[in-house]
Amino acid sequence: MFRTALLVAAKDLRIELRSRVLLWQVVPFGVVALLLSGLALGPAHAGNSSAGPGLFYLVTLFVALLMINRSQAIESTPGTKASIATLGLDPAGVFLGKSLALCVELWATGLVLLAGAILVLHTALHGALVALPSIGVTLAAMAAAGTLYGALTAGGDGAATLLPVLTLPAFAPLLIAGERSFSAALHGGALWEWWVILTVALVAYLAVGVLLYGVLEES
């Protein structure tokens, strides 16, 4: 399982490095979405709002949707799907590998967006650094959940539009827990409840993925 996971993750990351879709399409989308978020707050609040962590996560969430679509699109061309299916890869390994690759990509994009939030929304640098572990776990949970929901919708009618409908509600607790722990890092306050939610979500999505990913594949 772990061998397959590493093989699949390395393959996905290599494809990403080669195609540069992340660099030239996803990251610019995230940056422009962050700028628009600032504009939406209005001139009085764009630079001094406490909404920084929330906007950071909201933008990350939309960026994650693009990346999940991309992660599934790699596998979804008819010929690739058929050829890869005949390799008989262990589905649990494929799930872990795709989650790992998506997680690494989300971390990289998250760092760029965090820098953007510090720059344009004036989020405090120290607080952002303190929030890094919780951001890392939130994005890891998003990657695991996203890989599952991506596989759920892959190949179905209107997969690209169905994905957000299914995924965004499931991301809501992650958004809340991520935002609350980021805000706690900035302004102080209780933290452990959010770590519980994030850890439970991460473990639950990983467990469901390892057990049931094979069930989601088209026969």
Partner: protein
């Protein structure tokens, strides 16, 4: 013991997609080590038949056994490991090179990557081994598909329209390769519009129409 040497046994096999019968009751037996050409008009069900045999689409009703695995009950993953599929679409990761695609397949199958050089040479792609698949021509992609199958050495080869996009040299090369594969004991099923293409290999010709077998010789 005829059943033991049949790689494919279908009885009244029906496959539906969105309520439409792609296959409407196929009765067919294919013996081990044989070469068969499935032919018929557009929409006759050629690709669907091959996809069913590859475990890529589910059997709706009827009886189907491929390589000893019951398609209705068995694990499609088990079946897919034993069959090789070459579709008429591109069949690899477009952003990986020929070598990277084959290394991925070899590692997934637990095969030594040292075989890749000889396989690529056999299909005539040595000069393109580090080219991204996206940059290959349709015929070269077909050759990469064959390299993929040679690496896998499946017991049942299912080739969907393999002659499309091949030039004359490519067709001659392909016929020679098919001959070697059959001689090695593998079973080959090819779909083609033109049944005469592989006449030199003296294949069995199975004619499909309306999603079932209407001619066999």
């Amino acid at each position: 013991m005829e059943g033991d040497i049949d790689v494919v046994r279908l009885h009244d096999a029906v496959v539906l997609s969105s309520g439409f019968p792609l296959l409407s009751g196929v009765d067919l037996r294919i013996g081990a080590g044989s070469l068969s050409v499935v032919t018929g008009a557009n929409g006759a069900g050629k690709t669907s038949l091959l996809r069913l045999l590859a475990g890529l689409i589910p059997l709706t009703s009827g009886v189907a056994t491929v390589a000893g695995i019951d398609l209705a009950e068995g694990d499609p993953r088990q079946l897919r490991r034993r069959v090789g599929w070459l579709g008429h679409e591109g069949s690899f990761y477009d952003d990986l090179s020929v070598r990277e695609n084959l290394v991925f397949a070899a590692r997934a199958l637990d095969r030594p990557t040292s075989e890749i050089g000889s396989v690529v040479e056999r299909v005539g792609l040595s000069h393109r081994i580090d080219t991204t698949t996206r940059q290959l021509s349709a015929g070269q992609r077909r050759r990469l598909g064959l390299a993929w199958l040679l690496l896998r050495r499946p017991e049942l080869w299912l080739l969907d329209e393999p002659y499309a996009s091949l030039d004359d040299d490519g067709r001659t090369f392909f016929d020679a390769l098919l001959g070697d594969v059959v001689a090695s004991g593998a079973t080959v099923v090819v779909s083609a519009h033109d049944p005469l293409r592989s006449a030199a290999l003296n294949p069995r010709t199975i004619l499909l129409a309306g999603g079932r077998v209407v001619g066999d010789n």
